[in-house]
């Protein structure tokens, strides 16, 4: 059923499946705890009441942490009372998180204690922040309020009806200039993206959620679509334990990025001599049937390989700026070379080979970045930066990228300029170009040979590797540089003296 607000999604499902499990998660090695749809609704409404009592209804609320029940309660409690949720990447360095909190005008931060280093500096770095709420602390104190105590103290219903076209979520995504951009999404953007297409996924489907929740793809498809279908959302506690958690939670479906699918493919190929049905039962369980793939390019051979084990891969395509799904494959109409059919709430056209899309899931714009917004949104059309076209049946085909953005196999967007600026700060680096090569990020550097001579640096390669190692130390895994190429000549430049990228 098409819903135009996130509240409508939760309420519809709670009415139908109130006493059934909504979320399952591990509390010890092999022990699972569950929360029902009614509990999720009640707890999130209590969180809304708490925000209102703090005088923060309508404010910007950042959430930092891995996927967890409190994360979900904080998210729904925030957006369902007309406030704006700002989910942030829990793997970013503390300084960077503080910069984003400040830039997004956040006044309330809900923090998982895994990032207590952020809690230690955030009040000093972010003067606009008024409240720090800890997901784990049992009692409120001077340092931080307790999430659970807030829920207890403000237990109650919230009947606020959010307006569909109001901003409800800001998601940060890598920008081409090196500075990440806050994508502003409305209730309608997200709710219609999750509910406009009937993918014939049966109710009570068990989903194992393995992707980071600050990603639009996980938030929209695992959580919002999952809830709209009355699914059971099982939380994977660590990427180390996907295989074990598949056995524990026995899911029917998992959303993955191509990187994960390729690792699983290697394991399947290793036992290719064994009967397919046996392998499938051992690895995924009898009940497992579907993988949804998104975030990056998936080699079509994967669809055939998993097909041999009775597993359907449904490939999708999108970007945060479109909440995020633009097209998806459905199980009854698969074309392997395509990234699926365009969603019913979206239309597309090709302008100078670039794919442009328009519809109810296209963002409002980038938060406080009017220039970048004007470059990306043209008369209501979103310039995707991808080269491609849509055929007469609505299937989308991608042929390349227009922007410099690197899309890693795990779907993370990395701005090469951001890395070039950081590594290029060292005097030894005269010119640098960062790109993706064979699945990893490569930095090609033209060193300042004069400077090296002056400083008596004999092994220039080792010195450059040290610079890369130092940079990698503070960088999240997906931004680490794993390949170094040293140049003896300057890069070729275009007429405006910029390095030619390709």
């Amino acid at each position: 059923m098409l819903c135009s607000t996130i509240r409508q999604i939760l309420l519809n499902t709670q009415k139908e499946y109130g006493s059934e499990d909504a979320v399952r998660y591990k509390i010890a090695k092999n022990t699972i705890e569950a929360k029902t749809y009614t509990q999720l609704r009640e707890d999130s409404e209590s969180f809304s009441c708490a925000l209102s009592a703090l005088g923060e209804q309508g404010s910007h609320v950042a959430v930092i942490g891995a996927t967890s029940y409190p994360w979900l309660v904080a998210y729904f409690g925030t957006v369902n009372c007309g406030s704006v949720a700002v989910p942030l990447d829990a793997s970013l360095p503390a300084e960077e998180l503080c910069e984003l909190i400040d830039r997004a005008d956040v006044t309330v931060l809900v923090l998982d204690e895994i990032r207590k280093d952020v809690g230690a500096i955030v009040k000093e770095r972010c003067p606009k922040l008024k409240y720090l709420i800890s997901m784990q602390k049992k009692e409120s104190g001077e340092e931080a309020l307790s999430f659970w105590q807030l829920l207890r103290e403000h237990r109650g219903a919230c009947d606020y009806e959010p307006e569909p076209d109001k901003l409800c979520t800001i998601l940060f995504t890598s920008g081409t200039t090196g500075k990440s951009k806050g994508v502003m999404l409305t209730q309608r953007n997200l709710a219609e993206n999750a509910t406009c297409l009937d993918m014939k996924i049966p109710p009570r489907t068990v989903i194992l959620s393995v992707l980071p929740i600050h990603h639009a793809y996980c938030l929209s498809m695992d959580i919002l679509k999952g809830i709209s279908l009355g699914s059971v959302i099982c939380i994977n506690d660590s990427l180390l334990r996907v295989a074990k958690n598949i056995k524990l939670f026995q899911p029917n479906m998992i959303l993955m990025v191509p990187l994960m699918i390729e690792t699983m493919a290697k394991k399947l190929e290793e036992v290719s001599g064994l009967p397919a049905a046996l392998v499938k039962r051992q690895v995924f369980g009898k009940q497992f049937h579907t993988i949804c793939s998104g975030g990056a390019y998936l080699p079509p051979a994967m669809i055939d390989l998993f097909g041999r084990y009775g597993i359907t891969i449904l490939q999708g395509y999108g970007m945060t700026e479109c909440s995020p799904v633009i097209s998806t494959t459905v199980s009854w109409n698969i074309r392997k070379e395509s990234v699926g059919q365009i969603l019913p709430n979206c239309e597309a056209k090709t302008v100078d080979e670039e794919l442009w899309v328009r519809g109810s899931s296209v963002m409002l714009g980038y938060y406080k970045m009017p220039e970048e917004t004007a470059e990306t949104l043209v008369d209501g059309w979103l310039r995707t930066g991808d080269l491609g076209y849509v055929d007469e049946d609505g299937f989308v085909y991608l042929t390349g990228r227009k922007k410099n953005l690197i899309i890693t196999k795990n779907g993370e967007n990395v701005s090469p300029e951001e890395l070039e600026n950081k590594i290029g700060e060292n005097r030894l680096v005269q010119e640098i170009l960062v790109r993706e090569k064979e699945g990893v990020i490569e930095a090609e550097i033209y060193p300042d040979y004069e400077y090296a001579k002056k400083k008596h640096i004999k092994d220039i390669r080792a010195a450059l590797q040290q610079i890369i190692d130092d940079y990698n130390q503070g960088a999240p895994a997906y931004k680490k540089v794993y390949s170094l190429k040293v140049r003896e000549t300057e890069f070729e430049k275009n007429t405006s003296r910029k390095i030619k990228r390709y």
């Binding site: 990427l239 180390l240 334990r241 996907v242 074990k244 394991k267 680490k480």
Partner: protein, 77 residues
Amino acid sequence: MFEQLVTIICNYVEVEPENVHPESRFMEDLGFTSFDFMSMLGEVEDEFDIEIDEHEAANIRTVGEAVEYLEKLQAEA
């Protein structure tokens, strides 16, 4: 520990056991992806009956560092 780890490593990447050394780097030299690495550690948890911290593991770069980290966990267990 080193030999057992090499056996597991060779299940994830196409490399001969004799070409895996303590100084081999998982990503750069052995061709691991970040998810290959995580999945392998999941297997190592079962094999050695230990619990690995995902965040600590993110700092491991070479096979030698992995052995050192795993031995430390085993000693604590």
